[in-house]
Symmetry: C2
Subunit: 311 residues, 2 copies
């Protein structure tokens, strides 16, 4: 019997909890034994309302005997109190594994549990996590990320992928695959979470970086060197790269590539234009470069995507 | 304001509700207005326990003013009482759209709302739905299925795909895509739910069909004609096709192809064997035949799947 405790806070999204909980529950069904026992926890025993206003009964972190502590998404502008952070740290010490779903990474970070570690979170908040906690190595393009016994996952439904990996760790590939089949989710999703990120949300707060990205969008068919973008931003190459990374969690070259694949994907999905012409129009130069970028970012070539939309 | 009512029954799986509810909720967040109001309903106002034993407050179907009624998964061996069925039918008449998630299709079917319609359900129960309700045109290989104003969806997480389609219907492609990006799910998943089905679960109840499929598994590298399989089952070709379809919701050729791709996929994912050798070993003859079957069933070629597992 493996005891899983989900830490929730007021206004939590039900899907952050229901996704991974459903996966662990499916193991019990599949194996016909109580392989996992699931508890929902908060700082104090009582009732916590979710984002739909439904009341969820919770036990106290202090009393919980756990093997795995999973912190689900919560408000990122309001870290838990020092007292609650202490309870989370204590509970994590009694657990074999600690994990987070979505913005739950901010709670683990506030409690110091991600210091110096590799971690991920919802793509929309990855740059913010990197800014607020510079000691974390934020890996923005991951569905989930393991560093020792600390696992973090991307936004919302990525909690299901995380649970599948923990299940694979505990019970092997076949059981995890069976659970994925039962839930009708992909076991081992292709590509990173970049494929879900809307380019528009990469717009950094810094005006000079925003200007450089605006320039990139307007000149997407041209060769866009980092030197040229730094020049537009009015920064040295080194300063540009450093500020860019701090603000967006990634590199200028990656962002330009993502702009290109996003623009291309829109045209692939909604037009019948030849792939070669699209590749040229968005600055990939040739179709082979674009194909490689698609496979890296979406896990499949442009033609597969076009076929899937048609079918 | 569009009013969504989720009908739940005792022991419902939280993820069946939380998936689509999270999608509708994300529209409200994204648009910054109350585009959707979500209610959880049962025959009688009160409290219903989910499969994790958590109590969920519910309103009564009778009182609900609805635009869309969504029936989530419930027990398939115990259809709702005649009285509850009547309440569901009445609520459906007051709704613009009716939908089901997972085995919720059995509830709609019991209430007569799927008579003569095309519909889908969890792949594990599709054959059962076809047997129990012969007037339904069960489409086993769908993530969701629309027939007029009645929408049904495949297992569990397919409720999210269903919600995205309803959102696209109400608010257009861009809003639905934004919600998918926020939830970190694929908008328009590739392939049907076949890709999630474990071949072993296709085993029909009928002993003679089971014998034919057992033979197919044991002779997978050989040419397997429907004639040969009918012979093993001791039936005429016509009888075999008819009984097979009634029991499994699909054709012998499709099941053999699915056996082949499932066997091949396991080897693609877990070995470094050349694709050509795998194609031959599972009876595809050559790699090009296998590639086409993979694209049809999984939405991508074997090489992409192997690459994705490696990365």
């Amino acid at each position: 019997m493996h005891r899983i405790g989900f830490y929730v806070s007021s206004g939590f999204q039900m899907l952050d909890l229901a996704g991974p909980a459903g996966a662990f529950e499916a193991v019990n069904q599949q194996l016909g034994i109580s392989a996992y026992r699931i508890q929902v926890l908060a700082a104090i025993e009582g009732v916590v309302a979710n984002s739909l206003g439904m009341a969820t009964p919770v036990a106290s972190l202090d009393d919980a005997e756990l093997d795995t502590l999973i912190v689900i998404g919560g408000p990122i502008n309001q870290p838990p109190s020092a007292d609650t952070q202490r309870r989370i740290v204590e509970a994590s010490k009694r657990s074999r594994r600690v994990a987070s779903v979505c913005t739950g990474a901010f709670t683990l970070a506030a409690a110091g549990l991600l210091d110096g570690r590799r971690a991920t979170t919802h793509w929309q908040y990855a740059a913010r996590l990197q800014r607020d906690y510079p000691s974390i190595h934020v890996e923005v393009d991951r569905i989930f990320c393991r560093d020792g016994d600390v696992w973090t996952s991307a936004g919302i439904t990525a909690g299901i992928d995380l649970a599948l990996t923990l299940i694979e760790d505990d019970h092997g590939f076949a059981v995890a695959k069976g659970v994925a089949q039962h839930l009708v989710v992909y076991h081992r999703r292709h590509g990173g979470q970049s494929q879900f990120a809307a380019s528009v949300d990469l717009a950094p707060r810094n005006d000079r970086l925003a200007a450089a990205l605006g320039y990139a969008r307007d000149h997407i068919a041209e060769t866009l060197t980092v030197e040229r973008l730094a020049e537009i931003a009015g920064m040295s190459l080194r300063q540009f790269g450093r500020v860019f990374r701090a603000q967006t969690g990634t590199t200028p070259a990656r962002v330009v590539e993502r702009l290109r694949v996003d623009l291309a994907r829109g045209r692939i999905e909604t037009t019948t234009e030849p792939v070669e012409r699209i590749a040229e129009a968005v600055g990939f130069g040739d179709a082979e470069n674009m194909r490689r970028a698609f496979i890296r970012i979406y896990g499949q070539p442009p033609q597969s995507i076009r076929r899937a939309v048609r079918s």
